[in-house]
């Protein structure tokens, strides 16, 4: 495969692990770039949840890369085949880079459906089984700018046996090799980049092996799978990511799947991760909450401590009961958000977050959002998605700034 057009230009490496830089050469014409550490734009079938182009474009600094998942696209393979123009055109996406992942990070799959030759995704009509051949056929109809290779990542549950973990590493490497062969022989996928996927669960040796072996293949970057929020505690996650990073080339990006909480993001950046899936704002929106954590590092430290003691942020666990029971940690309210369904916001006429310049905060108040949530109005999702995405984008921007100016500690304290 000709040298990958994607280039990671690092401007700083802090303490040998945290990386700051720009991912360049994205897209078919190579003109897009993404600052790292950064997040991808989360979508359902190419649409940011709840938003149309008008509402989406009230946001500034939208990530240049949109994540599309096979779980939403696979069932439309026939349609895309007949359309012939590729997914971007089908979805009316004009100026973005499309990255295709296997799974939706906000929707955990039921385990037990992976075999030696297949993985499964769940579309609106049910389970779709994928062989590498079918996986690649779908990629040809999608024509993404880059995609993750097919992988066996069904190891996010704790207590997966060593034998099973070894199998997941072996299978994933086999799938990668098969994908690459088909890829290299395909006219349709010329110029499309492939990321290899690192598996291995919670076993350090398997993680290192997976990383080492994947790095031998001609991939443009690496997805780190099986680290989803709730699968293990952060200490172990950090340890494993550091071990993986040691085996990976410095100049290729690392994308961590399924981790979006700000504290976990921070810790993983410190371990050497460059890219994150941007699904966290969506999860916060779905539980009727607004991200409100402060990440302003320009404040002097004394005021920073005072602000932290402000009872603005609700304690975790105060959240409204959620319809989804199976996802465990993923749908629990965190300390980074406020629960707008709470009666206290009934007559709170302040914006969601003071000083936030997003469309929602400029135009609306907490009391209005509270009313929309209590009356089950669709606009609640629209406004919250705008705010939560803006807030999250702002967090990453500040994260990069902190890295640039050695202020990461300050950020950690917020």
């Amino acid at each position: 495969m000709a040298g990958s057009r994607i280039k990671l230009e690092l401007s700083r490496v802090v303490q040998g692990e945290s990386r700051l830089g720009v991912l360049k050469g994205l897209g078919r014409t190579g003109q897009h770039c993404l600052e790292v550490p950064g997040c991808l734009l989360y979508s359902h079938l190419g649409t940011v949840p709840h938003l149309t182009q008008d509402t989406l474009h009230t946001l500034k600094n939208i990530p240049a890369v949109t994540q599309v998942t096979l779980s939403s696209v696979a069932e439309h393979q026939e349609v895309l085949q007949e359309f012939k123009g590729g997914f971007k055109k089908f979805a009316g996406l004009h100026d973005t880079v499309v990255y295709c992942s296997l799974h939706d990070p906000a929707a955990l799959c039921p385990p037990g459906y992976t075999t030696n030759k297949t993985v499964s995704v769940w579309g609106s009509g049910g389970r779709i089984e994928l062989t590498v051949a079918k996986f690649m056929a779908i990629q040809k109809t999608i024509q993404p700018d880059w995609y993750q290779s097919m992988a066996d990542g069904e190891t996010w549950q704790s207590n997966t046996s060593r034998k099973r973990l070894r199998k997941s590493v072996d299978r994933t490497l086999a799938h990668l090799d098969e994908c690459l062969t088909i890829h290299q022989n395909s006219q349709d996928l010329q110029g499309v980049e492939v990321f290899g996927v690192v598996e291995g669960g919670d076993i350090l040796e398997e993680r290192a092996r997976s990383a080492r072996e994947t790095a031998k293949r001609p991939v443009a970057g690496f997805c780190l799978d099986g680290f989803q929020t709730g699968s293990m505690d952060q200490t172990l996650r950090t340890q494993l990511i550091k071990a993986i990073a040691k085996e990976l080339p410095e100049d290729k990006p690392r994308l961590l799947q399924g981790v979006g909480r700000p504290d976990e993001v921070l810790a993983c950046v410190e371990a050497g991760v460059d890219l994150f899936e941007g699904f966290f704002p969506f999860q916060v929106t779905e539980r009727g909450c607004a991200l409100s954590f402060s990440f302003d590092i320009s404040l002097d430290p004394e005021r920073a401590v005072l602000e932290l003691n402000d009872d603005e942020t609700c304690r975790a666990g105060e959240g409204q009961p959620n319809g989804e029971v199976t996802d465990g940690d993923q749908t629990q309210m965190t300390s980074f958000e406020i629960n707008l369904k709470d009666k206290r916001y009934h007559d709170d006429f302040r914006p969601l977050v003071e000083g936030c310049g997003c469309y929602c905060c400029v135009n609306h108040q907490r009391a209005y959002l509270h009313h929309l949530l209590v009356t089950n109005e669709l606009l609640a999702g629209v406004l919250l998605m705008i705010h939560n995405t803006a807030h999250y984008i702002g967090f990453f921007s500040t994260l990069r700034e902190a890295l640039a100016n050695d202020k990461l500690d300050l950020l950690k304290r917020r």
């Binding site: 359902h44 079938l45 649409t47 940011v48 949840p49 709840h50 938003l51 149309t52 182009q53 008008d54 509402t55 009230t58 939403s72 069932e75 439309h76 026939e78 349609v79 007949e82 359309f83 089908f90 979805a91 009316g92 579309g123 609106s124 009509g125 009934h346 007559d347 006429f349 469309y359 135009n363 609306h364 108040q365 009391a367 209005y368 509270h370 009313h371 929309l372 209590v374 009356t375 109005e377 669709l378 606009l379 999702g381 629209v382 406004l383």
Partner: protein, 397 residues
Amino acid sequence: LKTLCVASPLTLRIVAECPVTKARACDLILPHSAVSTPVFMPVGTQGTLKGITVDQLDGLGCQICLGNTYHLGMRPGPDLIEKANGLHGFMNWKKNLLTDSGGFQMVSLVELSEVNEEGVKFKSPYDGKEILLSPEKSISIQNSLGSDIMMQLDDVVSSTVTGPRVEEAMHRSIRWLDRCIAANKNPDKQNLFAIIQGGLNADLRKACLDEMTQRNVPGFAIGGLSGGEEKDDFWRMVTLSTDHLPREKPRYLMGVGYAVDLVVCVALGCDMFDCVFPTRTARFGSALVPWGSLQVKHKQYAKDFQPIDPDCPCPTCKRHSRAYLHALFKSDTSAMHHITIHNIAYQLTLMRSVRQSIVDGRFPEFIRSFMKQMFPSPDQYPSWAVDALASVNVTLE
């Protein structure tokens, strides 16, 4: 405009009158902005137009939309909204708002305890408590909401009911109109419209018209229709009403929103319309088009790569295909928003075209070409519409 000393917060300027039909094109000057009529007013029941931001609504050219006194009076309540600078402040809508009285919901939504001279007693669906909605209470809530146009509380009776109840309701509505006028705290900022009742009985309607037009209100609504009655009766009551309403005041036909109904009732002399249909049907995937409607969720559109309407300039049609929207309905709620935007655009564009044709003096031709587009052949034209149009000198093929 601002230098004019206006006694009432409403001015109607008749820009053009159709020489053939009873249609008019007017500029309706209200406190928050001018409104071009004929106008279709989208319904934003709970202080929001389902899934659409006020900017998007403004971008579509909407100049007036509806809020619902019953719903907002329950949640979040008039006191909270008053604190928020009225409904305009609460939802951040800078153009005009019209609120209905809550009367219709009393009949359609809730367990009715009793209607008497005092008002309508009903059980709150949220805490089971008994609430009395009187003319005074309705106006009080609407005063707190601060809408540009308020509706009187009328004694609402279904259009399919006959007998003495209809007459009783008609007379009571007149008495309640007087109580509403007396209760209005803000006559210099909020316009109170009367609602003509009388069911499908021409005599009762005439009696109601005679009485209500003696009151000094800035506008009149034609109520008690659009509730499941025969279309043949419906149009006759509409045209009877406009025959006896003053020329220089706006006529608001409540609950009318299907395209054919709009065009015909403009010809019969109505200026303002509202209906939940276009926005409600959007959420079920039904897109309105000049030739009827498209059920986007239907299998036949899975591979249809055209926009909903190739001639439609709305944001949805400019960017998305039927096939993409069909697929999106399986993945995300935004699919509904795309159709909602399109349907509102369709309704507003229709009314804009109607108005322009009246101004240009070619409304009858517009009607003919509209009907041709909507129905595959003349023998499919609804007979009530043919009759109604004939009554105002428009013959269809």
